[in-house]
């Protein structure tokens, strides 16, 4: 594949994923509203908010690192989606996944977090520092089920490359990892909750308490960049989980519904459960998900 073609494919992927992301955000907030028996926002409201944020005329910047913070975040989102092979079989839509396997994706998640943390750190806003401290503390615990479940998948397929793992699950639904390695699947779902910053574990961006945590000082175009990332990043993670546990997809129409349903899992749980404090969430991760994860590895290891 020549480089120009590859870049075009990348732009196309980004366009699709961004739209899917914004729509998903809209639908999610619609679902939250419906649960409160409210009419809720128009499903295309995120588009409007995005345009409005980009259209604001003046910006206040606290320094170079503050300025580059959101860009780090967006690079991480965009990079993540480009490193994950989206469509099994199509060379184009697996974008730059040839440059690194699942480990690259696992560690690239932190690129954005670090960048964002440094950016909000330079703003001098104490609340953002508190938010970041909570976020980091919680992410170390949320990593436990994620690492365990991913590890047991890699062990099961004896491979780190996502395309290979997806390839092994193509022959029918029963071949999905979720069914061949159920324990890992369940742990992965719990881990998915932890990583999606939805309500049981969204103490980092706790509105009103520490005015939305790290992004307190961000506004206008900065906020726009963050929202674009907020569209791409969750979808990328969902696609990752879909690829690893739910057999990936041979085409976009197969991929998007799977991604949508998995995304809804965190939304539905989010609407029902109240927010955990940081140490409660850490302790929660150290109980059930840890046990399940270890069980899954033991099970893969021995049986």
């Amino acid at each position: 594949m020549s480089w120009t073609l590859r870049i075009l494919y990348a732009l196309l992927t980004l366009f699709i994923v961004m739209n899917v992301g914004l729509l998903l955000n809209g639908v999610t907030r619609k679902i939250y509203a419906r649960v409160n028996r409210r009419v809720g926002i128009r499903f295309y409201q995120p588009y409007i908010d995005l345009v409005k944020n980009y259209s604001l005329t003046n910006l206040v910047t606290h320094g170079v690192m503050f300025y580059l913070g959101p860009i780090f975040r967006l690079t991480s989102g965009v990079g993540l989606i480009l490193f994950i092979p989206l469509i099994y079989g199509s060379q184009g839509f697996s974008n730059f996944s040839f440059s690194g396997d699942a480990v690259l994706i696992l560690y690239f998640l932190f690129f954005g977090t670090l960048g964002m943390a440094l950016g909000s750190g330079e703003s001098g806003q104490p609340h953002s520092a508190i938010g970041v401290a909570r976020g980091l503390a919680q992410v170390t615990a949320a990593e436990i089920p994620l690492v365990l479940s991913f590890l047991s998948v890699f062990i099961q397929y004896q491979s780190l490359s996502i395309t290979e793992i997806v390839g092994a699950q193509q022959s029918g639904i029963l071949q999905w990892t979720f069914f061949t390695n159920p324990l890992a699947g369940v742990t992965a779902l719990l881990a998915f909750l932890g990583s999606m910053m939805r309500s049981p574990f969204d103490v980092v961006l706790a509105p009103q308490e520490i005015p939305i945590g790290p992004p307190t000082e961000y506004h206008g175009a900065f906020l726009g960049v963050l929202q674009t990332n907020r569209a791409i990043f969750p979808v990328a993670k969902t696609i990752l989980y879909v690829n690893l546990f739910f057999g990936g997809a041979a085409s976009w129409p197969a991929l998007i519904p799977k991604a949508f349903l998995l995304y809804m899992w965190s939304v539905v749980v989010g609407t029902v459960f109240p927010r955990y404090r940081v140490d409660q969430s850490i302790r929660w991760f150290l109980k059930v998900p840890l046990a399940l994860g270890l069980l899954s590895i033991v099970c893969i290891h021995f049986c």
């Binding site: 907030r29 509203a33 409160n36 028996r37 409210r38 009419v39 809720g40 926002i41 128009r42 409201q45 409007i48 908010d49 345009v51 409005k52 259209s55 604001l56 005329t57 003046n58 910006l59 206040v60 509105p207 009103q208 005015p211 939305i212 307190t216 000082e217 961000y218 506004h219 206008g220 906020l223």
Partner: protein, 219 residues
Amino acid sequence: MRSNDDFLSKKIVPGVEGDEIEVDPIRDYYCDAVPQVSREYKRAYPSIIDRFKNWARSESIWILAYGSGCGAIEMRPLMTPKYDAYQYGIQWRPTPRQANLLMVSGYLSLKTLRIVIRAYEQMPSPKYVMGLGSCTINGGMYYDSYNTINRLDYYLPVDVYVAGCMPRPESLLDGLELLKKLIREGKGHGADIYAEKFEWYKANQKKILKSWNMPDYSW
């Protein structure tokens, strides 16, 4: 309790390398720039893009959840299923940085005026102000009180006033509808007016707020 001025007075602080550092809080802690008028305001005739932007700005108004005075309670029903302002693209944001609309919902004492001015100045432009209730229009029942202000737009450029000694949610929605129409037509230039007549506004504010211990424009 030390008065606020004490924090802003110049002070000599022993530096780490044994040198003396002269710290002037106003100059060192705060940025003393004056707001500028935006390019759009200068343009005679709004271009296609401007019109689209104004449409987007009208359809997604983020309110600074700052309840000053008894009108705040009127805003809460807008979040409930009965009135549900979300469907009009309206949302409440905890920080002025991410807010476009400042709802002054009632009387403003001198202390809260200072906070409202800071909040307004920390909002990115274009930003709009909506005054609720008669207190913001002409002082309402506190018109002769020693520590409240009578007319809001002496101090801040107000776009929409909603009359009523505390207007009901419906009238709030109506006021918001009016605001959206103004924005769509490109008349939402409160921030630029504030920048244009900055001295006038500042004079008014300083006249009423005797101890003015903060930078002229707190970014």
